[in-house]
């Protein structure tokens, strides 16, 4: 009975993925008259290469540390080491990923592909925040609309609205909401704080952009997961609630001891799905920030697409996909392990 589905999956999911997997070891281009060549792991080396460089501050002739205008020690320019410096071939082409001070010296962690690294960390951050918050909120909503109340269907529909509406409208709307000058959010915050609030350019500020995206993403997709929770809620036998009622359970206890354990399978599903979707974050970025400002909203899939399509570098995009796949696979294995049935 699984055969038709399996065949389709193999043909249209596994097959293309294996192709992509193969591409990641070549220099395959989207458009090119040149033949494709096998390049081994170089795509991955390019993505994952990191190095560490520690620099001492510049000293004047007297051996005093030279201070810059702000009174901070000044260091030699990194680009002198990473660009065309025959003494440091291992750093060639690398850029600063992040840095920290160790005493007077400053340690630079360099990456061959800082954009990828940022995409990686942003994606992880996004997942870590979105997965629990979104599944939790979705469950809350599902519980709210699982009550027996007149007209509850209206609310079921309303809570689902953001999912139904095209991401284009949603992104557009939220760009207006997040507008740095007179966006609705700033206006609202100003109103709530009686004007003490300094407007923030939510999407234009590298510190807030990712969180702005996170907020909107949760808002947008929470109804989707609410529906899944809801179908899980329906499978819990009513008599269990009756038994708990009689045993004196409060609503919270009923949730804790009857509902929640009864949702185990659903919870696994939701967690897996949310994690997958969070890792696949793309549309919002594409519509709202294009990865900016300063790469603060780059994500893996967005980068995979940018490279594969816009830069016509299918091999590079595929390599990112492969890394993403391995990453998510290992996380989901861990997740499965943690949520396994304990017997």
């Amino acid at each position: 009975m699984t055969a038709p589905a399996l065949i389709l999956i193999v043909l249209f999911l596994v097959g293309p993925f294996i192709l992509a997997f193969g591409f990641s070891f070549t220099n395959q281009r989207l458009i090119s008259p040149n033949p494709t060549q096998f390049v081994g792991l170089s795509n991955f080396e390019q993505l994952l290469g990191v190095g560490v460089l520690t620099l001492d501050p510049e000293r004047d002739d007297a051996g005093q540390v030279v201070l810059d205008a702000e009174g901070q020690p000044s260091y030699p320019r990194l680009r002198d080491y990473t660009r065309n410096n025959p003494d440091y071939p291992q750093y060639d082409g690398m850029r600063e990923w992040f840095s920290f001070s160790t005493g007077d010296a400053r340690t630079y962690v360099l990456a061959r592909d800082t954009v990828f690294m940022k995409a990686l960390t942003n994606t992880l951050l996004f997942v870590i925040i979105v997965a629990p918050v979104q599944s939790g909120l979705a469950l809350l909503l599902a519980l709210m609309i699982n009550q027996k109340l007149r007209g509850i269907n209206v609310f079921r529909t309303i809570y689902f609205m953001p999912v139904v509406v095209s991401i284009v409208v949603v992104s557009l709307l939220w760009r207006f909401i997040y507008d740095g000058r007179n966006g609705l959010l700033n206006n609202l915050l100003e109103f709530l704080t009686f004007g003490h609030f300094q407007p923030i350019d939510w999407l234009g500020n590298p510190d807030t952009a990712l969180f702005a995206i996170i907020g909107m993403s949760i808002w947008q997709a929470v109804g989707f997961h609410m529906v899944i929770w809801l179908s899980g809620l329906q499978t819990i036998p009513l008599t269990l609630y009756e038994a708990a009622d009689i045993e004196g359970a409060t609503p919270w206890q009923k949730f804790r001891f009857v509902t929640w354990p009864g949702l185990r399978n659903t919870a696994v599903l939701i967690l897996v799905v949310i994690t997958m979707q969070a890792f696949a974050l793309f549309s919002q970025i594409d519509v709202m920030t294009n990865g900016g400002p300063l790469d603060s909203t780059q994500t893996l899939v967005f980068q995979a697409v940018v490279r594969g399509y816009e830069q016509q570098n299918i091999a590079g995009g595929s390599a990112i996909s492969v890394i993403l796949f391995l990453l998510v696979l290992s996380i989901s294995l861990i997740q499965r392990y943690l949520t396994r049935e304990r017997t």
Partner: protein, 358 residues
């Protein structure tokens, strides 16, 4: 004080009236057994008392309070469900201890109580299992355990022993009885087992189609069933019913006759019985003896040896069927003709409306 008082209680599902104007007083500490045919509304009544079904009409009091609108958890009742309703994800231990955990019983007390209950229910070796790994009877015991550890004011049992074997059932019956004495709690108990009903109950309530037929002590019901329904329902095998008509009606005795029995004289208080009345004569199978020549004579159609007694089914000359419970070592073969007499002091007479007479 946790007596119960049901007045005019009604329940309808859609148009189906399942409980019809039930009036019932249950004293504090009483052991009341509900019996009645399958589907007569026993579980429904229990669930209404527990607060799991809305009450369509009438009034339900527990103690002094009207509880029609009170949440189940505030009614102070424990219940054993007919379908067990065990929490599938908890072990037996946790299932049993759940109520205690909810009311914040300290861990050691809880543990003691759970183990006590497990011992009583002979399921100490099952404490670590999940319900899915239990047999039907084992599940039922867990459900009982869950109720008894909580020691509420009112216990509701819905056929709690139906899946247990005879020996265990007897043990459990004893345990419940003991529990009742120890706790002095009010217990309401639904069962199909006559022995259970007879031995446990202070008071049996016979229900039929949502209507209370008779309320009384076990022997009262056995010896003086108020109507044909109760007469037929209480006692196993069923009371034999014979159509008769009244020939003479004296002050203390009447003569009756019927195609099956010819003419007979019975000592009974005969007020209101009128000559020519159609009546029903009831004789319990155990009140028959095999005699060389008696009022009932028939061909044996079925012999069931139960060991301590033998059930003999007869077909009388007029085609009526009759069952007699005879000695364990009675030997008679199918097809043989047997003659029976019965204990004249223990007959039951019902008028044409089915009500007991005399």
């Amino acid at each position: 004080m946790a007596g119960l008082s049901l007045s005019n209680l009604k329940k309808t599902y859609g148009k189906v009236e399942v409980i019809k104007d039930v009036d019932l007083e249950i004293g504090h500490g009483e052991f009341v057994v509900f019996v009645g045919p399958s589907g007569c509304g026993k579980s429904t009544l229990l669930r209404m008392i527990a607060g799991l079904e809305d009450i369509t009409g009438g009034e339900l009091r527990i103690g002094d309070k009207i509880v029609n609108q009170v949440q189940p958890r505030d009614r102070g009742v424990a219940m054993v469900f007919q379908s067990y309703a065990l929490y599938p994800h908890m072990t037996v231990y946790d299932n049993v201890g759940f109520g205690l955990r909810l009311n914040k019983t300290p861990k050691d007390v809880r543990d003691r109580k759970i183990r006590e209950a497990a011992q009583i229910l002979q399921m100490e070796h099952l404490l670590d299992r999940k319900p899915a790994q239990l047999s039907g009877g084992q599940r039922q015991r867990v459900a009982i355990g869950r109720a008894i550890v909580r020691q509420p004011e009112v216990f509701l049992f819905d056929e709690p022993l139906s899946n247990l074997d005879a020996a265990l059932r007897m043990d459990m019956r004893m345990e419940i009885s003991k529990l009742h004495q120890e706790l002095g709690a009010t217990m309401i108990y639904v069962t199909h087992d006559q022995v259970e009903a007879m031995t446990l109950a202070d008071k049996i309530v016979v229900l039929n189609a949502g209507v209370v037929q008779q309320v009384g002590s076990p022997l009262e019901l056995y010896n003086r069933p108020a109507n044909l329904f109760v007469a037929g329902f209480i006692g196993s095998p069923k009371m034999n019913m014979v159509e008769v008509s009244v020939e003479t009606a004296g002050a203390n005795a009447i003569d009756i006759s019927g195609p099956a029995i010819g003419r007979l004289s019975l000592a009974t208080e005969a007020s209101g019985i009128v000559l020519g009345d159609k009546m029903t004569l009831g004789i319990r199978p155990h009140d028959f003896q095999q005699v060389p020549e008696g009022p009932f004579k028939g061909t044996v159609t079925l012999v069931e040896h139960l060991g301590n007694e033998t059930m003999v089914s007869l077909k009388l000359a007029n085609g009526e069927a009759m069952i007699a419970a005879l000695d364990g070592d009675t030997t008679c073969a199918i097809g043989e003709t047997v003659s029976l007499d019965f204990n004249r002091d223990k007959v039951h007479l019902f008028d044409s409306g089915g009500q007991r007479r005399g």
